[in-house]
């Protein structure tokens, strides 16, 4: 694939002005996302912050990205989306006040059609000087099922409306005809309009702030520093890269089928680390599949940027400069470089998390003290849509669920939390019940689902609903049911996910759902979803008994599991029986050896 960044020209920058202007530019991205989130219409953005903003050079190189809100996935895929926009709309076809909308993963863009990009050129004295862009997850973009992330689809056409780069605003004038066309093709036109206007407002903020910076520092100085800021991030990345032992490392992990067949789909990566270059080669990954878990290279790039930043410099201001030393190789026809019109809508939820796992497995060999065992490994999406009882008003509840975080070399993983490529907040029970024909029966952590270890992984979560509506469609987009999140360095795997429906008299009939499915629910069904825990780190027989006792007191690990897995005997008073523990551990070691 292509290298994203162009070479910098930021010579002669002074380290003080660099920091002052970097602050100013990141402040713009922050102001954009703050405005976007506050002004957006849908709960998905307002409460779950599933949106991102960034500022680019006139060449489409990203300079500053919002980190408040924002997901690592957006931050990686917006960059190629902006490049795609400029292939359709070269600089000479743009005018001040224009904005371009697009959402297509093909040829390069967001990870799925729900992530709508709005790109606004910033003109200074008639010259295209910079670009503002945002990406914001629409609750629905039409297609086969509410929420537009169904299973049962095999072609991109079924997933929703494809919006190739189009001018939605011309010289400040919103194209109502185009918006009407878009709105006619999706289920939630009011939210779409509100969220679009919030995106346009964010770009307007950037235009104004860039104008102010030019007025203060001069156009050419500012232009020079845009490049200096990219060079700066490149130096930071290179400095971090030097701290990784050079070498070649391999990782491989699997997705449990595509919702059509249950064969594992393998993601394989070979990472080459050298002081000046980081290559992630995914060429050996399995071929593309029929079900909607395929993805395109920008999503892969987002995962690589994410993992590398976590490993070498978590505070790194990511931009096109930081990407220069990174090379990503994917092979056309594989699940990571699927060819049109392969279905992709669930790649964000599942595939990206597995790409991260494969990368972690590789880099863990290079630098265990910065690594983490496998986290829940899927965003565990639930989408319940239908009509509000007694009306023709459609509702659509969508939420992704956290799970256990993997353990690290010196600490336990967190319980019930989002990991890696997403960090969206949950929907309050009181908000769900006020807004949707759903009643929450229980919502909480799932004891005994952690991956045991010297340090344990976090436990997963569950939610159980009563379905109150009469026509209700459900999509489950999950994974890690059978191949549970793995442990590291002797740590054990966690418990996997599951999803069940209970129906009939006394809700006695249990219908087990696959991890990837779109289906109908019946009135009065109970729906229960459980998410995976995180993998453990190190031998569970070496976990200090006091920590096992604490977990048992907290009700997160049962006394039975404490004895059988950790070899820690908990007495009837809840305290460790130390003598019995020594004996039990010796016994378990013998049995294991």
């Amino acid at each position: 694939m292509t290298t994203l960044a162009t070479a910098g020209t930021g010579v002669g920058a002074d380290p003080v002005t660099l920091e002052v202007l970097r602050n100013a530019l990141y402040s713009i991205a922050d102001e954009m996302i703050g405005g976007l989130i506050r002004a957006s219409y849908s709960t998905n953005i307002k409460d779950r912050r599933d949106a991102s903003c960034a500022v680019y050079t006139a060449d489409g190189d990203v300079i500053a990205m919002s980190e408040f809100g924002g997901t690592p996935l957006h931050l990686g895929t917006m960059h190629p989306a902006v490049k795609t926009v400029f292939e359709s709309w070269p600089a000479d076809t743009l005018e001040p006040g224009d904005a371009i909308i697009m959402n297509t993963p093909y040829p390069a863009g967001p990870g799925h059609l729900n992530d709508v990009c709005v790109v606004g050129p910033i003109f200074i004295d008639g010259e295209l000087f910079a670009i503002a862009a945002s990406q914001s997850h629409r609750v629905d973009v039409g297609g086969f099922a509410p929420g537009s992330m169904p299973f049962g689809v095999t072609e991109h056409f079924q997933e929703g409306l494809q919006i190739t780069p189009m001018k939605i605003v011309r010289r400040g004038e919103l194209d109502e005809h185009l918006l009407a066309f878009i709105n006619q093709n999706l289920r939630t036109p009011v939210e779409n309009r509100g969220d679009l206007i919030a995106q346009l407002a964010a770009n307007t903020i950037a235009q104004r702030r860039i104008e102010e910076l030019v007025a203060k520092h001069g156009r050419e100085t500012l232009r020079g520093y845009l490049h200096a800021i990219m060079d700066y991030s490149e130096r930071r990345l290179l400095s971090g890269l030097k701290s990784l032992p050079p070498g070649t490392y391999r990782g491989e992990d699997v997705i449990e089928g595509d919702g059509i067949v249950t064969d594992n789909v393998a993601i394989r990566v070979t990472v080459e680390v050298s002081p000046a270059r980081f290559v992630a080669d995914f060429s050996e990954t399995d071929p593309q599949v029929l079900g909607p878990i395929n993805c395109r290279w920008p999503s892969v790039a987002a995962c690589v940027y994410y993992v590398l930043k976590c490993f070498v410099d978590p505070e790194l201001p990511a931009n096109a400069g930081a990407y220069r030393p990174i090379e990503i190789r994917t092979r056309p026809g594989t699940v990571l470089e699927a060819q049109f019109p392969a279905a992709v809508c669930n790649a964000n939820i599942i595939t990206t998390q597995r790409i991260v796992d494969a990368l972690l497995m590789a880099l863990m060999q290079a630098s265990p003290e910065r690594a983490i065992a496998a986290c829940s490994g899927t965003m565990n999406l639930l989408n319940v849509g239908g009509f509000i009882p007694g009306s023709r008003t459609l509702f659509n509840y969508i939420e992704t669920y956290g799970g256990g975080q993997g353990a690290m070399h010196d600490r336990d993983g967190m319980d019930g939390v989002h990991s890696h490529m997403t960090n969206t907040r949950n929907a309050p029970v009181e908000a769900i019940e006020a807004e949707y024909p759903l009643r929450v029966r229980s919502y909480g952590l799932l004891p005994d689902t952690e991956g045991p270890g010297r340090w344990r992984g976090g436990v997963g979560m569950h939610r159980e609903f009563d379905i109150l509506g009469d026509y209700t469609r459900l999509t489950v987009s999950s994974d890690r049911e059978k191949v549970a999140p793995w442990g590291a360095f002797g740590g054990l795997a966690a418990t996997g996910s599951s999803c069940d429906v209970y129906r009939g008299p006394g809700h006695a009939e249990r219908v087990h759902l696959p991890s990837k499915v779109t289906t109908f629910l019946q009135p009065r069904d109970h729906l229960r979803t459980e998410t995976p825990g995180g993998g453990g780190w190190g031998d569970p027989l070496e976990r200090p008994p006091a920590l096992v006792e604490r977990d048992a007191r907290e009700g997160l690990v049962s006394a039975g599991r404490a004895g059988s897995v950790y070899g820690v005997v908990i007495g009837p008073d809840g305290a460790v029986d130390e003598a019995a523990t020594v004996g039990r551990r010796a016994e378990l070691r013998r049995a294991g050896a």
């Binding site: 920091e19 700066y232 967190m414 960090n423």
Partner: protein, 685 residues
Amino acid sequence: MSLRVGVDVGGTFTDLVMFDPVTNRLSFTKTSSTPSNQALGVEEGIGKVVGAAGRTAPDIEFLVHGTTVATNALLERKGVRCGLLVTRGFRDVLQIGRQDRPKLYDWFAQKAPPLVPRELTFEIAERALHTGEILEPLDEAQAIAAIEAARAKGVTALAVCLLHSYANPAHERRLAELIAEHFPEAEVSLSSAVIPEFREYERASTTTANAYVMPIVRRYVGLLEERVGAMGVPAGLHIMASNGGLMTARAAGEQSVRTMLSGPAAGVLGAVAIAKAAGFGSVLTVDMGGTSFDICLAHEGRIRFTKESEIGSLPVKVPMIDIHTLGAGGGSVAWIDAGGALRVGPRSAGAVPGPACYGRGGTEATVTDANLVLGRLDPKRFLGGEMGLDPDAARRAVHERIAEPLGLTVEAAAEGIVRVINATMVRGMRAVSVEKGYDPREFALVAFGGGGPLHASDLAREAGLTAVLVPPMPGVTSALGLLVADLRYDESATFLRPLATADPAGLAAVYEDLESAARDRMRRDGVPDDAVTITRSAEMRYARQSHELDVAVPTGPIDAATLATVRERFEEEHRRAYGFAMTEDMVLVNAQVSAVASLPKPPFEPLGGGNGARGAGRAQPVDRRPIYVAGAWVDADVFERRDLGPGVRIAGPAIVEQPDTTVLLLPGDTGLVDGQGNLLLEVAR
């Protein structure tokens, strides 16, 4: 009789301010704080401030206190062992929170553990719906068993947060009765009493924070009341709340979570009152200390409030003055990062070892060291001369840590440090102004704290403000704020209905309930109804949004016309905050009232007469010294603040020295002392 005394306890010093309405004089004093028992320092300070005026404790008519007891207990996790009762099926409400992780790119960063562990959280068989309807009655036998179980685990306080209790508090109230019967020693906080608003995690977090600190606050205010009573002070004790209003000691012992940020709230209140008296309604207040920088915005005299505060990374959803805090102060450490950029903070050298120039073993270059190198601080006059600074140590630190590695002169490096920390602070100032839809050019900057006036000119210029106000005694702004506060109680209730179909009578009933609750509180404090002013507001949003905006609701009867006014005001506020309004349905989420009983305040009298009267015109500098500005040394006049009487004009470059701070005027700035003794700077563009 008749003396009014404010006591503000800070980390190092306890500041006292006393106003004597007979002589119309304000006096100030300070004593060392006594962190292990704040009451000792308070007692000593009261004796000192009245004694200095030749008066005695029985002359105190009114006593106000700003305290950090609640905040410290929460931040240091030194509250009581507290249990939580929740609806069955929702035991992990605190453990899961909002399921997000604290840092996107750092998996080692862990969530702050909740105040109540899972072990002490108990489920209660019961269930209400968002309509207030009871789906499942309270199982009293099961509830009693849960209360007994909590007692057996050794808790001394119980928080209760049941699902949808904002819509129907009956089960929570019944649980309180059962607790009183079966576990009478337990101190109880009900979510429906602490903050009856929807979103269960935030409500539970706020309620447990209240339960966690309440016994400590109650004990502390009780002890303090006893001590000041023993001194002969006849007045009841008032406590500054985080909403900038006062509450009685008894109320503070029940709604303890509302005393968080008591001191900073007083600081903002003092700064805004000073500015208002000087004719500035719209101000940004900045308080720069050794480790942190607090920013707050007041628009046309109205201070901004928030209900989205986090204290110690836990949401506390009671109304607080919206103070934005950054890790930037005199002690912020300068460093060079892996990309070769100069960075300053957020790490601070603290008090020990402190900046290199403190001579306490610090070797890192801090903002204070940089200011000393640039001649902006006088090594002999820091803190009124109480502490000598070592300029050689400052130069050495800036040279070794910053200048040499970057290939800069020591002066250029020091100026760079100041520019970078200023950029950080300006980013924070923008976050509270432009990012909230306010134009900073309409605001004056009120600078206080030890470092605020030193950086104010630069900050104002960078953020686009033109006027700076430095109060006569910036160091006692918080203590002064205590004496300008009113008695205030905020009440709220979730309404959560579309405005279009809302029944005006139903809404009126909600407001009536809130108003009578607020009046009840006032009556218990001995304030008659006719002395109470009630204002109404509503938190509103468009139907499918989930973030609310605050809208003022007219007083008087509520009818269709009222709702129309509310609709218009919401649209106006939405336009101001986000630049647009929509034609969609809006929802009135929370109804709120504020009850305020006005208290007598010290007037900000002109400072005519006395020792400040050198007359109008020019002041005589006491010294001249070179300061480094924009790459060059320039000579600056040095003035003593006490020499600057009303009407005096000075011009930059200049330095004004006073015991609690240093004011910097850059070239082109002008300064004028107003009738109240404030130094007003007009900043050069």
